[in-house]
Each structure stands twice: as C-alpha cells, then as structure tokens.
C-alpha cells in the first residue's frame, strides 16, 4: 500500500529528523509485532560500524550555545 502522507509533513524538519531516526534503526527491529504477541521485545544489537557512525555523527554536530 502506498502511504498517503501530507506533503507538508514531509517538508517539516522535525518529521524529516524523525524519519531519519526511524530508518537508521529499522534493521534492528522485527517487522512483526513481537512485543505485543509475546510480551518480550526484540532488538538486534547495534554493530560496531553502527556505533562508530553514531559517534562520528555526534562529533560532527556543531556545538550550540545555551
């Protein structure tokens, strides 16, 4: 089924950030609702490469003053 998403939402920076977060972790989750069915969730361990990428992304972020 082709998702029907409000085009304005797709241009929303918050939603773009959310999509990026969700897609980045997609392969760690089971597609099926395992947690609901069994009461025990499923999460594949983050690989070394993934952890390194997270660290590099964090390092690359500009620091913000408060």
């Amino acid at each position: 089924m082709e998702p029907e998403i409000d085009p304005k939402l797709l241009e929303d920076p918050l939603f773009q950030e959310l999509m990026a977060e969700g897609l980045a972790m997609q392969d760690r989750f089971a597609a099926e609702p395992v947690y609901g069915k069994t009461g025990k969730g499923f999460l594949k361990s983050a690989g070394v490469d993934e952890l390194r990428e997270v660290k590099e992304r964090e390092k690359a972020k500009p620091t913000k003053g408060r």
């Binding site: 998702p3 977060e21 609702p33 660290k55």
Partner: protein, 131 residues
C-alpha cells in the same frame, strides 16, 4: 532542565501514523492499523502525549504503545525513533547522549534489563536541578 516536561507534544498521532507509513514503505511492508490495537493505542496517545510528564513516563508511554501494536508492522522503531529524538533534543554530551538513547531505546523496545531501567531512572532523577 527538569525531567518533567511535555516531551511528546511535538508528536501528535498524525505524525506517529505518518512515521509508521514511511517505515513500512521503506521495507515494502503493509502500512495498516491493527483491528485489536490501533484504536486503544490512538486513544491512549491522544490522551497522554501532550501532558506534562516525567521523562521516564514518556519512555514508558512509548513502550506501552509499542506493545499495544497499533500497526501491523514496524511498531518498534515507530515509537523508539520518537524517544530517540526526544533524547537527542536534550543536547547531552555525545557519550552520555549515546548511553541515554540506548537505555531509552531498550526500554521502548521491551528488551531492557532491571539494571538498565535503574540506570535510566537515575538519569531522569539527575535532570532535576540541572540547567
């Protein structure tokens, strides 16, 4: 910074649904509400998401909604990505951010240990009095 805030207010149900649609589309999976979980989850989210709550309560709401399985597929990263973004917006030092994000993600995914839950609780308590 306080642990009590409207953490989930930027994420109305329409965004939750759109997020699941995007995630399902990326994997050619069916984006469809479940017959037994969707309406109850939507109602719970709509009632709770804009309320001021402790950060651990926000994480638990995401966990509960994940478990209630409102969608046929990819409920886990739908709600885990929301809490990941909430943690990201705390703008913690990178190493601490990675740890807190991991703890919160494990809780929402339903795979956390007691030690992880305690560590996350302690982090939430540490938010009071900072900032």
């Amino acid at each position: 910074m306080s642990r009590r805030d409207r953490w989930l207010v930027p994420f109305p149900w329409e965004i939750v649904t759109a997020q699941n649609a995007v995630l399902c589309h990326a994997k050619n999976a069916l984006h469809k509400p479940t017959s037994d979980g969707h309406d109850a989850t939507r109602q719970l989210w709509k009632e709770m998401h804009a309320q001021p709550m402790n950060l651990d309560e926000a994480v638990d709401l995401c966990r509960r909604c994940h478990r209630m399985a409102p969608f046929c597929f990819y409920n886990g990263n739908t709600f885990a990505s929301i809490i990941a973004l909430v943690v990201k917006r705390l703008e913690l030092p990178p190493a601490q951010s990675a740890v807190v994000r991991s703890l919160a993600g494990h809780i929402v995914a339903g795979v956390s240990t007691g030690e992880e839950e305690t560590a996350f609780q302690e982090f939430c308590e540490s938010l009071d009095g900072h900032g």
